[in-house]
């Protein structure tokens, strides 16, 4: 019985296997990115970027219909443009990054929704907004995996400057010129992973697999490295459980995955070892020294 519920969907149906592969790849890339977004207090920046991708994807849709490749390319171009422009604006003027990004993404989102609704139907709009992880064809799956691989490799390269820039940007500026490039590359990685999540979860929820696992990780560790591992693991678990849930109950897959992640997050808020509600209520007796 249990076996039927947990494994049969994947052994019986290829589209479920593809979905699972996609969600694992997504988790590997999005987990670490989400942790850095959270530590740099950029969680909502991720959200804003997700919206900024929309007009690019919409133009892709306009040119070639519901073609994943065209929409992804468009999304990448739009995302990079917004990331670079807002990064440059905040680095070269006094405007804080959040403010500069907010202006760009609002314009982007309005433009994107306009383009989709002029050309397509409401169903198209739904697909763009919420994605469909159960419709992964070969090229899309390959692209999701490639993007995850790129993310991990590039992150390994910029890891040290990224960490130092997050802790002590002034110090990094006095010892190295790597800060600005690391910052911009990181913004680029956010875009790559959002476009990745976009296929599976849509523009509105793509950021979910970044932010929720990172939030979960924060409640279980005080160190970056374990945090990243916990974030990736909880993203994979959410993906798997979400897919099973969606298969058995007909809840749409994207929301199911994010709902499971939200439940894990709720559990972490309550029981998390580092600053969770219950451990704070019952901390045990104080120590001698």
């Amino acid at each position: 019985m249990l076996r039927e519920v947990l494994f049969a969907p994947f052994s019986d149906f290829e589209f479920m296997r593809r979905a699972l592969a996609a969600v694992i790849a997504l988790s590997l890339g999005s987990g670490p990115i989400g942790v850095f977004l959270m530590l740099r207090r950029m969680s909502l920046v991720g959200d804003a970027m997700a919206h900024a991708i929309l007009p690019g994807a919409a133009i892709g849709f306009l040119l070639s219909g519901l073609n994943l490749f065209a929409m992804t390319t468009g999304g990448l171009v739009a995302g990079f443009a917004v990331a670079l422009l807002s990064g440059l604006v905040s680095r070269s003027t006094g405007l804080k990054e959040d403010a500069s990004l907010a202006t760009f993404y609002l314009a982007s989102l309005a433009l994107g929704v306009t383009i989709v609704s002029v050309k397509g139907t409401n169903i198209d709009l739904l697909h763009v907004l919420f994605g469909n992880i159960l419709a992964m064809d070969d090229p899309t799956l390959l692209m999701v995996a490639t993007n995850a691989t790129i993310t991990l490799v590039v992150l390994a390269v910029i890891y040290r400057p990224l960490v130092v820039e997050s802790v002590d940007p002034l110090f990094l500026r006095t010892v190295s010129r790597a800060g600005a490039p690391a910052h911009l590359i990181f913004l680029g990685l956010i875009v790559v992973n959002l476009v990745n999540g976009f296929q599976a979860l849509g523009t509105l929820l793509a950021v979910g697999l970044m932010i929720l696992p990172a939030g979960i990780a924060r409640f279980w560790s005080r160190d970056v490295t374990p945090m990243i591992c916990i974030a990736v693991t909880s993203a994979i678990v959410s993906g798997y459980v979400g897919l099973v849930l969606s298969f058995q109950t007909r809840i749409p897959s994207g929301p199911a995955i994010i709902l499971v992640a939200s439940l894990l997050y709720l559990g972490s808020v309550l029981f998390g070892r580092v600053g969770g509600v219950l451990p704070q209520l019952f901390p045990g007796r104080h120590l001698e020294a």
Partner: protein, 250 residues
């Protein structure tokens, strides 16, 4: 030999000078106190030395050293103390110049890091997150990183602000140790007794250099009174500074 040369340098913000037409040399191995009222341009001068601020005019030469090879302890550190990084890892970033982005941190480097942590009296704190440190412990931590940077020139911006006497004297001993190693050390300070007792050279700054030389000759009542009279505010209607003032006067 001059380690730092200020050649008629003017540093400032939005064309308003905060350090105005400063000229002079800091000898190699000098231990120089930079004093002056708030807003006198001490931090601005330091930011210029380490290359965070481009001069509006004139230049600063560091005898072949790149600005990045100068260790700098800022007055207002821009450190995110909520970031989950341990004391050991934080101090290890002081090795940046030798390990860079990809270099490994081997056994020898780990020894050096442990020694730096011990030198500032933070042994036992290695595994703690930097968010758990007190203000004084944080300052010790920053000194450990400067120590590890192993720089020929060290610039300390008000390093003893809000430090208790034990911390100050511990860190002061470290500065004298650097002086003994013939490193060039510049420190912005407000404690005149400390300057008299430990710093052979003093620069009294009040946007312009009021006096610069042996500490006893600089710290006169007249000089200090003159520095206090400096007007802090920028004048929005100020005319462009005439080029003649210092160079062409001769």
């Amino acid at each position: 030999m001059a380690q730092l040369q200020f050649r008629d340098v003017t540093l400032g913000y939005d064309r308003h000078p905060a350090v105005h037409h400063l000229s002079g040399d800091v000898a190699e191995g000098a231990l120089l106190a930079v004093i002056g009222p708030n807003g006198a341009g001490k931090s601005t001068l330091f930011r210029g030395i380490v290359g965070l601020l481009k001069p509006l005019a004139g230049s600063i030469a560091a005898a072949g050293l790149k600005p990045r090879e100068i260790a700098y302890l800022p007055q207002i550190a821009d450190i995110d103390r909520t970031f989950p990084i341990s004391v050991f890892d934080f101090v290890s970033t002081g090795l940046w110049r030798s390990v860079g982005i990809f270099g490994g941190i081997g056994a020898a480097a780990r020894d050096k890091i442990a020694q730096a942590i011990a030198a500032v009296g933070l042994t036992g704190f290695e595994g703690r997150g930097i968010g758990t440190l007190s203000g004084g412990q944080m300052q010790r931590l920053l000194f450990a990183r400067v120590l590890l940077q192993d720089a020929r020139v060290i610039v300390l911006d008000e390093p003893f602000n809000a430090m208790d006497s034990k911390t100050s004297s511990d860190l002061l001993r470290l500065i004298e140790h650097w002086h003994g190693e013939r490193r060039t050390v510049l420190a912005a300070l407000h404690d005149m007794d400390m300057v008299r007792a430990h710093f052979p050279q003093t620069l009294l700054l009040a946007r312009e250099a009021v006096a610069w030389g042996p500490t006893a000759e600089v710290l006169t009542t007249d000089n200090l009174a003159q520095a206090r009279r400096m007007c802090e505010a920028f004048d929005d209607a100020a005319a462009p500074c005439a080029p003649a003032q210092s160079s062409k006067a001769a």
